[in-house]
Symmetry: C2
Subunit: 172 residues, 2 copies
Amino acid sequence: MANDLSVNQELYFMSLAYEEAKKAKSMGEVPIGAIIVHKNQIVGQGHNLREKDQDATAHAELIAIQEACHTLKSWRLWDCQLFVTIEPCMMCSGAIINSQLPEVYFGARDPKAGMVQSLYQLLNDRRLNHQVQVHEGLFQKEASQIMQNFFREIRARRKNIKKSKQISRNSE
Amino acid sequence: MANDLSVNQELYFMSLAYEEAKKAKSMGEVPIGAIIVHKNQIVGQGHNLREKDQDATAHAELIAIQEACHTLKSWRLWDCQLFVTIEPCMMCSGAIINSQLPEVYFGARDPKAGMVQSLYQLLNDRRLNHQVQVHEGLFQKEASQIMQNFFREIRARRKNIKKSKQISRNSE
């Protein structure tokens, strides 16, 4: 089992995951960020880079897990906590299981693709050789808000593009 | 939908995935291999490298998907087929969904961690925004045999180590 963290430490590490999400947003990526902590030290961090890298696997959690394995020189992320702003998808839930991460904190649920609470509870399937302690809700409002704003801006941009195409077509 | 492959092509590409599995075995890794094909051309390949890289995410399929995204300069692996010797785990099933791979061939089932048929049918959940056409059984015997031999050899090696420790302890 990982070290116990105080409420202040939990808030601090989730605030850093949120900072990672903001980095993603500033690059035009879906704003999700993740941090991995080992004995109170950050050993991995990441934000979504799918568009920039054109890599379907470049999710915040996966990048952070790969970095943490590299830092700790071990594929087993024992005594670690993962902090992520949004509920992990299937791939990232699997990477959490494969790295035997004991503890995961996530901010807001993803009702469309979340595999920890929303569609399945994959981190707590007793048939698998690893289960995860899950904490939900830290920075929920912020994590959810930055996603909503991001998609609202994308929709507005698309609408404007459509409108200006319409105008130029009408004036031809 | 991906191009239709002939039976000979399917066998050929799965034989290459099996060759990848053999590479993993020769390195002392769990022998699983994968190939990704795009319009009859190989665009990604990989074998398990978890121990060598000490990376929990270094599964054959994930490595092959990352390479295919890089080759095609796209996170969307449309018109592609993935060939893998063993039924994908949770992480790799998620990477298949995230890359919108339309078609997956796997050899043998993994009753302990397989997420395509054994524990769940995650590639065909209608609630997700992508579903996958799954083909099962090509090279099933070979894929299963190389795994069984690998784990049998590991058990035998462990038994021998234990025995020689016992002998040296008794002769002290």
